[in-house]
Structures are given as C-alpha cells and as structure tokens.
Amino acid sequence: MAQSKTAVIRSDLDIVIARTMARDAAKALGFGAIDQARIATAVSELARNIFLYAGTGTVTVKEVEKNTRKGIEIVCEDQGPGITNIDLVMQDGYSTSRGMGMGLPGAKRLMDDFSIRSQEGVGTTITCRKWRT
C-alpha cells in the first residue's frame, strides 16, 4: 500500500465505505483480524462524527513507519464548527447528539496514538495510528 486512500464523507453510506476502505488497507498492511476490526470500528466512529457534526469531510488512510515498526495512519478532516472543549468530548458518555458519547473516547481506546487539532469555526483534524505487533 504505497499511496494513501481517501474517502469523502457526505452521508451515512459513506461511513460504511470509509470503514471498508480502512479495513482493506489494514488487511493489506498485514494486520490481524482483531486489529482490522478495531481499525474499521474506530474509522466508523470518527466518520460518523464528521457526518453528524460537520456534515462533510474526509477520511484518509496511509501506511506509516517509525524506526522499524509499520503501522496505519488515519486522518479525519472536516471544516465543521470545531470542538470548543476537547477534554470534555474525550470524556466517556459526553454527547451533544444522538450518540452515546463513546465515539471519540471509544475510537481512542481502539487505536494506539490519537490526537485532535481543532479550531472553532475552522474545523477539526483527528490523526490516529495503529502499529503492527
């Protein structure tokens, strides 16, 4: 998997397309079945957040390497309203929508590295990685 792949999120159908893309990429990179499910589920949560809060955005997956470790990196970007209080949205059970408030903290638990960059009125970028064991 030399190149990155991007899915555009515009509807709930695109959530399924994005997570299938991520699962296929994880499989191609040699992740096992359980990590494939973790990665696909995390992408599902993050893509749904884009759909619910920003309306549209993108999910990009690519291969990453650190020292000798290989992994997958997922970048979710939107130009939505941004997150005012990141500590708050990372709390289990916090939700402003119909969700259960486990989207972001849940996705973080399923991945190895997780970071959020967000600016009110500008948008949000979430970058997360999973390393192959």
Binding site: D12, A33, I34, G103
Partner: protein, 127 residues
Amino acid sequence: MDSLRIPILKIGDILIASIQVALHDASAVQFKDDLLQKIHDTRARGVIIDLTALDVVDSFIGRLIADIAAMAGLMGTRVVLTGLQPAVAITLVELGLELPRVLTALNLEKGLSMMQRLTEENGDGAV
C-alpha cells in the same frame, strides 16, 4: 437510495433476523422499525438477531441493538443476540459497549434452545 431491508423470518412464535451485510445508519433504523412492527403483527414471543456475518459493530449499531432489546422487552418479547465474532466482542467491550441487558448466545442453534427455554418458562409470552 432506498434503505436496505433485512428479511425477518417467522418460525412458530419466534422471529429470526440474520444480518448479512454491513448496515448503514438508515437501514439499521429501518430494521428496528420493521422488527418492532413484525413483533406486533405476529405476536412473536421471542426474537433472535443473528450477527454471524458482521465483522464490524460500531457504537451506533450496538446502541440500536440495545434499544431494540429494550423496546421489544416493553412489548413482552425477548431478544437473543447470536453469533458475535470474537473481533466484534472485543471491539464492543473496548468501545465501552458491553450490552449488559441484552441476552446472547454463541450461535443460532444455542440461541434457539435458549429462546425455547425462555418462552416455555413464561407461557404467556410476557417476561
């Protein structure tokens, strides 16, 4: 695009729905509505939802299944979830969705015998 409809089969007074494809949100909500209506129409005493074919269950689908079980329970119908793959069970717990109030069985066969026991114990179907 029309939302996809999940077939719901009736055997005796038990309904069986086997979810074979990845559900997007609208089709999942459609499934909930269809299933509750079918419980009402058929007066089913139990429902088995088989997830053997699903390789991803995210928090939206997990919450919807918990909702279906609670709603069917209000109508007097038990729901048993069957066939969760190991990877799905692992990701659900890691997500924080343990579905504590949903009855589960390893596979459809064990789910059917569990359902038979449940509905025999409660002859009137109400639990």
